[in-house]
Amino acid sequence: MPLSRPVRLITAALALATLTLAGCASGTTGTTAEAAKPVAGGSLTYAVNTEPTCFDAHISPQDITGEIDRNVVDSLVSEDSSGIFHPWLATSWTVAPNLESYTFQLRKGVTFTDGTPFNAAAVKANFDSIVAPATQSQYASSLLGPYTGTTVINNYEVKVSFSSPFAPFLQAASTAYLGFYSPKALAAHSDNLCAGGASSVGTGPFVFSSYTKGQSAVFTKNPNYDWGPANATHTGPAYLSQLTFRFLPDSATRVGSLSSGQAQVIRSVPAAQVKSLQETSGVTVQELEQPGGAYNLWLNTTVAPLNDQKVREALQRGINISADVNAVYFGVYQRAWSPLTPSTQGYDASLANTWSYDPTLSNQLLDEAGWTGRNAQGYRTKDGKVLSIEWPLLPAEYITDQRDVLGQAIQADLRKIGVEITRPQYDIGTYLQRAYAGKEGILDSSWSRDEPDVLWLFYNSASISAGGQNATFYKDPTLDALTDAGRATLNKTTRDQDYDQVQQDVINLATTIPIYNPVTIVGSQNSVHGLTYDPNDWALFYGVWLAR
């Protein structure tokens, strides 16, 4: 079962305690709340902050779509929090030595909730539908990478092939985005799987019963479910009879609905309210560090003055990141040292404390770069030009986590070393246009996915083109080779070495300034047991039960 990191630590500590007790032969058996016997039945309401615009995980790139659809669709394999894959709808698999094809043995006796059997043809129908241009997949098709096709070997054996080595496929196959809808539903409702509701038919532990736009999505237990992932804590159907996702965009309303018992679990608790919620009786707060890209500032290496590495380094060392992050997030979020968060596979822990705040060094670097003059406002100048960099603000409705406030702290730090940061706020159209055209000095974003292959998106030069995510616009053969190589091997040691090198290189080149590690904060009532999270920190409800 993919436990979240804090939970994992606690579980490990409990296991250790149990062992010690057993060693003492005291005969005490764990009768903590967690160890109590699960009871079936009951209805749980989970209040979330965003509502999917489209419920079809094959089309939508939204996190919330993945989290909701996880209850309806199953995947070939299941990934645990240490990056190990377990059987799910595939009982076993083999990977071709060149990583260009994967062969899966499928589980027998699995049926979709409309009665259609799950078999090799269903796998093929789903994967082929994802890459079909008519589907207009915005994310799932990129998870299939250089996909060339699926071959049905027999009813319960399929081979998925790629045109080049593709190591991230198992991780991709474990996500809800590559989960399976009933081929019957795919054919009959290809137009309105986005609409959710009863047309979304999968093999999952819950059935999508109804959706009221602007309010809630309701799921009921799939009583025939008997094919949970091998790393789950139980087998058979889910415990809950009913699961409701309630869409409450306002954070005060969400927090109030939890503390008053109208929702049993809520996500996206604002950092400022963590403390008061922790003091509310009957409520538990969990902070889960998101895997994937940290909240990073991307420095565009193709525009002046950031094309000068000295200036980039000066910026990197001239922001008092620890103090800023602590002030804005009340110690709930931690500052980042790498473009990946510590909970991501392949994170390079050795980067910690290697590039601390050093305004003296920053000033020295800027002097060396020739920015020695000062204008009336105290900003540095060179040949009559002011050291000014544009870092646009997203439109207000897209700003999360008070990143605008954090930006003000960063602006103030850089002002101290004589760097002017301008933050115009464009409409989203202009913002995206300028960002993709490489006209901005600094851009900022975070990216949630438990797979170091996100570094390919961030740094491979092939990811600079339209729609690419490489906001450093830096073309470097070494980074290309390393991020390509990481995709082409399953050898953990090699991958770790490659990805460590990428993380160190981009910090040394100062193309990236990691700021903080995003945290998902989940609040739940103490009556909720067995709540676990997948590697993306999305709540899993298969094993959840309510104490009476």
Binding site: C194, K213, G214, L248, D427, T430, W447, S465, A466, G467
Partner: protein
């Protein structure tokens, strides 16, 4: 016979004017959205998106975004004349279905809010106009506070007290009458404040008129004078203002639906405008134009009922 043709003519004129208003609104909305910079496909996909250029081209072709603007406009009008509001870019569903599923909760909310507003305003104004200086001052201050409190704040306070603390009403959603109470009060309170101020002013002016003295001389009691004579006089500006405010409630619903997690047109509008979801935005503009036309017609009819002098024309 002549009466009938006059009435029919009046109705036809109204209808023609309504159509013109709605066409104008659709055209202005279409034009305004064209002025928003940026590539619509890119906006539709959002910031963190790995869609390939082929997918982007496919999306552009599907919604006709690769065509020239005049052509898009004509195509849009053509569809509109055939009663086809189009397909939402973002939600990939027919706009007509989206609106019809979201309309009723908002209408309920607006009716609820107007009932709250009118009842509170009429009660407060009739009770305190021109008498009991202390009570009058207190209710007047209360109304000013109601008018100037942001609905966001009022909503949170009401929720905290009546839902989180005392569990009288559910936090959110649109399930039953109980879930309508808090949102309706939140949306109606500022309107009540405004209406009460205007109505009291009107009542006090009317109470100073000679006809009130005449009525009193005929032996009509205090309440009779207020209800039968002064109120009817003061009701004309009340009705005008109520009509206009009902229209603006559509805007207020955006905030209230957000706080209370209610489905509705407000939430849909916010989402559509944010995502530049053109077919939905234009349909919503059409809907509100229709709404205003409808309300002004109702208000005109109400004038005839309230003021007999207008009937002889």
């Amino acid at each position: 016979m002549t009466v009938n043709t006059t009435v029919l003519g009046a109705i036809a004129r109204r209808l023609a004017a309504a159509l013109a208003v709605m066409l104008g609104a659709a055209t202005i909305a279409f034009g305004a959205l064209q002025l928003v910079p940026g590539d619509p496909v890119q906006i539709l996909l959002g910031q963190n998106n790995t869609a390939s250029p082929a997918v982007r081209a496919q999306i552009a072709a599907r919604f006709g975004l690769n065509e020239s603007v005049p052509l898009q406009y004509l195509r849009y009008l053509d569809h509109l004349l055939h009663g086809d509001l189009g397909q939402s870019y973002q939600l990939q569903q027919p706009v007509s279905g989206l609106i019809s599923s979201q309309l009723w909760p908002t209408v309920q909310l607006m009716i609820g809010a107007m009932v709250v507003a009118v009842v509170l305003a009429v009660f407060s104004a009739l009770l305190t106009a021109g008498r009991w200086p202390v009570l009058r001052a207190v209710s007047s201050v209360g109304e000013l506070i109601a008018v100037s409190s942001p609905s966001y704040w009022v909503g949170i306070i009401l929720l905290t007290v009546f839902s989180f603390q005392f569990h009288v009403f559910p936090v959110a959603g649109d399930q039953n009458f109980a879930s309508l109470v808090l949102p309706a009060i939140t949306l109606g309170l500022p309107v009540a404040g405004l209406l009460a101020q205007v109505l009291r002013e009107g009542l006090e002016t009317a109470l100073g008129q000679p006809f009130v003295l005449t009525a009193r001389a005929r032996g009509v009691g205090q309440n009779g004078v207020r209800l039968k004579h002064a109120f009817r006089h003061a009701a004309i500006p009340l009705v005008t203002l109520t009509g206009w405010l009902t229209g603006t409630l559509l805007g207020g619903a955006v905030l209230v639906e957000n706080i209370f997690g209610r489905p509705g047109i407000g939430a849909l509008t916010l989402e559509a405008v944010t995502n530049k979801d053109m077919p939905v935005v234009i349909a919503l503009v059409l809907l509100s134009a229709f709404f205003f036309v409808l309300i002004s017609t109702v208000v005109d009819l109400l004038y005839l009922i309230i003021d007999p002098r207008l009937r002889t024309g």
